[in-house]
Symmetry: D2
Subunit: 366 residues, 4 copies
């Protein structure tokens, strides 16, 4: 695996490294960690990658790696959003599969171009909607699919954070509030899209229309930092999506609840090893990670017995486990791919434009 991005100060680069290597199916051996050569070498040191294989440019990496018997066989794109398309374009051109961070690209036009390239290349292509990798998220999906909730009628998904409640400082914050690097969306693109994907992933439903109210709370900020989006799903279910980065004191509080005509279900990312199931009669059941209550999807993505907390890195690693399976030609249908990436971009673009226009309900088309 070659990494694109993830230089000094990055948060998500090391996460990809931990996740990709966890099951020992993948090894990070090269990268373009930074456009600055010195910083790239420094990153290589941190990642314990051969400094010779810390390249200054994509071109250099693809050229050099192609010559090696042990050259990289896919890339992970972990750089800010505006890099996703050029990085993916180059990788696909070099014949390499791609695992990219979300959102798919910075703009909808870029997404369209990328879609064409991916389809033409016919190579494995994954998008790291992290939270779909949690075992109990997969369990939730399986329970819904098996009818435990009956017909889903209401979905509430929230993603509160507080770390951008003040003026953004630091590498992580700065690019996320800069339209030139983040693209169309601020909060909606950074975390709203996670919530959107999670709602579709667990429910098996698709959003068909939305009403968006995106706001910018911190003065002087160019992108949204507080989002409310009303949703309608293709079976008529009603939905609410809340995402905010100005909710002081919130850490990474992604939380989803689904309600059907026969049961309900709740999951929280910050206590990810339990799933709450409710019944019409008021009964509440707690499903524990690692327990015998799990179905095959969840069990196969669990590394320790019940009571041994697994977390964010393990969830992320489950996506790479799926990706590794795809690289071997095995099916891994739950790994988010191009279509999920495109739906996410459509969601961001539609929400942003509808909110700006005060457009009320608008269709979501992909």
């Amino acid at each position: 695996m070659g990494m694109i991005g993830g230089g000094p100060g990055a948060f998500i680069g090391p996460v990809h490294r931990y996740a990709a290597e966890m099951d020992r199916e993948i090894e990070l051996v090269a990268g373009v960690f930074s456009s600055d050569a010195a910083r790239g070498k420094a990153a290589a040191d941190v990642y314990r990658v051969d400094p010779e294989r810390a390249y200054p440019t994509l071109e250099a990496m693809f050229a050099a790696e192609r010559e090696r018997a042990d050259g990289i066989d896919f890339v992970a794109i972990v750089s800010p959003n505006h890099h996703h398309l050029p990085a993916a374009r180059a990788a696909l051109a070099a014949g390499l599969p791609v695992m990219t961070d979300k959102p798919l690209t910075a703009t909808l036009d870029e997404a369209d171009e990328l879609a064409g390239l991916v389809r033409a290349a016919g190579l494995p292509f994954g998008v790291t909607y992290t939270y779909s990798g949690y075992p109990l998220v997969r369990e939730a999906r399986a329970r819904v699919a098996s009818g435990a909730l009956g017909t889903v009628r209401k979905i509430v998904v929230e993603y509160p954070q507080g770390w951008l409640a003040t003026e953004a400082t630091g590498k992580q914050a700065e690019w996320r509030v800069d339209p030139a690097r983040a693209g169309l969306g601020g909060c909606i693109g950074d975390i709203g899209v996670h919530a959107f994907h999670l709602a579709e992933f667990i429910s098996g439903l698709k959003v068909v229309s939305l009403l968006a109210d995106l706001g910018t709370v911190v003065p002087g900020r160019a992108l949204d930092d507080d989002c409310t989006v009303l949703l309608r799903f293709d079976n008529g279910a009603r939905g609410v999506l809340l995402a905010s980065q100005i909710e002081v004191g919130e850490r990474n509080g992604l939380r989803i609840r689904l309600y059907g005509d026969r049961g309900g279900l709740a999951w929280r990312q910050e206590t990810p090893n339990m799933l709450e199931l409710t019944k019409l009669d008021g009964r509440t059941e707690i499903v524990h990670a690692g327990s015998g209550q799990l179905g095959p999807d969840a069990l196969a993505r669990t590394r320790t017995p019940a009571g041994h907390p697994e977390g964010y890195l393990e969830a992320f690693a489950n996506l790479y486990r799926d990706f590794a399976a795809q690289l071997r030609g095995e099916p891994a249908p739950l790994l988010p791919g191009l279509d999920d990436g495109l739906r996410g971009m459509a969601f961001i673009a539609t929400a942003v434009s509808a909110s700006r226009a005060g457009a009320g309900w608008v269709p979501l088309t992909v």
Copy 2:
């Protein structure tokens, strides 16, 4: 105290009785518990009220009690919404103060009429927005007022219930889904209005506009049972109000979070004896009911030391303690009164009409 409503099968009648009598300042001694005389007598028996003072009509009660040296000196109206106006009208005409359940009336016209009567009468008039009686809700209000959160920028208030997820059966359910008795609103009037009041009560802000999306999920139902309302407050703060009665497995999950530019705050009705305060630096403090951390408003409405859970009945009793103070001519400014009742009705009416019209953002005027 004379009770109007609260006959056999009622939920809220006994609650008013518990609450009113808890501090021994008030005694239930008479009532028109039911329009059916036999049922009224049965209720008197349950309430341990002298059966002679279980009256068949309002007129009978007011006439008889007026003659007694120990006659009632106020009424509590606990009947379905469409009874609120006639009951209050008769009580005020008899010169008696009124404590009424929420919402104020069934319709906006009724509310206007009642407002005129209350103002003309100049008698104490309270509205039982129950949740404002919780000690930690009062503490939350005091903390916000003291600047603990800085400027409030975002409020999320949710009121999920699941008990009307299927066709309504039973006395409690039936009138709530019947426009003739419930009035304009279903879920929005039954519980949405509680959430609305709580947001204004704690924040000290006023909603100035809203965007409502009220839905009816259970087939054949005439009123809304699932509500999403976006809010703007008078200081520019953004808000979201969610209320639903079809969220299977939810009991009475009222929950509010306020976020300012310097701190945040969260409270949940189902674990009402703790208040979570957060700071910009990530610090979380838990404030416990009954502890030395409470300010005077909360302390004065707490009956036991920390660790001895108080609940719904004690919160409700705090409203009656305030009302009793008003009856004695003492100030009790935190008791919801006519203005709060009118704002609630405006909220319900505006949300219902705007949602039906698909009107987008509309002003909330009272």
Copy 3:
């Protein structure tokens, strides 16, 4: 009802008043609230009792009340432990039933004397082991009795408090650390005995032997303030009882867990409206107060629907509801009575003496 004790500064006197009157079956009308007449009158004012019926002595109360048509028909003893025997003796001599706070008396000799008097009198006699009044404690008892846990093999009951972590000041603290008023036990008698009763109440088992390690952590204190007691029950089950009043930051954290060969059960007093049931297969079920999952014992002691928190006062009121039933000659077998009081005293005395002697395992005999 006449109250003995409960003068200014008392905590438990008002609690008895709230609890006794909650269901309107009992009314506080007289009392010997304090040995100081002025303080007694002040208390009467707080309780809203006719000042004429705030008596300076037990003798005065019994003499005067006997002459009244509406005289008291039982007494509640809420004074420090050393008053329990004389107060009960006088009440029983006056032919009045007794509801007394725990522990039964200050010493074992006193308990023996009281037992003789109660048996001779043949009058209703209750002991307010408060926590047995919680609906979900009664549900827990019913579930165990119905075999949900199989054979109980292990019980862990903890009662952590922190309010006596420093030198005792204030009326509540002072008598509790004074052997002349508290009697044999400090923490063990104040809260340990609650834990002991709860374990026997829920399990239906009896402690047959124990090993006690009572310590005094705060320098200069004459009684124990930190207790560990190992237990064996009559079916061979193992048990641990922890009680402490020096655990800083703990409020009133009574918590019990029972484990059988087929299931487990956990309940916490500070979140009393849920009961956790576990199965051998790892499944966890949450039983909610007020829900349809409750059996008749719990349902009959619940005043509001699910999601409307009930707490300490309501639990206490359930004991008085039972006591009122006994006064009417109806069965209320779950109300703790003389035998429970005697078992508690035997527990305290045995634990104190065995701990002082370093005696290891000793039998518990009553």
Copy 4:
């Protein structure tokens, strides 16, 4: 790194592999995974280790690896307890550092022998008391050391599990209840020793005496499965240690609370990313993993920002990170080593013998 043990069906072998490799400082390249050659090869396949380097015996591994330029430079011992001594003896004889699972050995005699060997060898030697690797455990230790609690006066540590509540079946269970493989202790050696280490690790205190009551609840079992141990620490603090493997429904509920004269502290392994701190005034503060509230020990062992749950594998990896530092000759004083291993063995042996003898309080000497 070469692994000893960890063949098919093992739980802890893969955990060591995940943990050791997480930070990319260590690589599993060889092992004696099983005494059965075919099973050893199968394990190598799972671990993705070169099958040539899956050796049938310790001798074979040490001989072959010594010849390789890239031969292993330490071993991880992950086999059942009775293998610890022979494996460590052979590794030390081969000049290799050792990271061993706990308890140190199966018996006290073995521990003594191993201690002599380790001291003579002068090589790095670590013991994987897993829970000391959690960032918030290190934070807890630092807070106690800095005086946040004042003088520690009471420690309660519990380790409830339920998975051995029935007759043991499966590879994990079978050896743990077999004295020939587990050694002196059942539950006390498997998990009690973790609790013991955690109490000493966080408090900085040493246990000087104990009173043990170990029981065997499941019929026919040869070793203890339910343990209560009273503790005294070297500063006079009182302690209670509870460990059980028959508490149905418990997963891996390690939980510790420390109380001083100025504050208290609580941590739970199943929700490891928060630490609760309490003050004499009743104030509770929640410290979140990944937040700016952490001190350097905790921060340096945290891989993601607040709100991104880290768990068991990350905690375990922190021990390997410390061990890797020691291999490089850097200080890593918080890694448990020989002395911690010996104290654990003394604890097990003393508890087992004192419990069998009904000896009451006995000194703990190492």
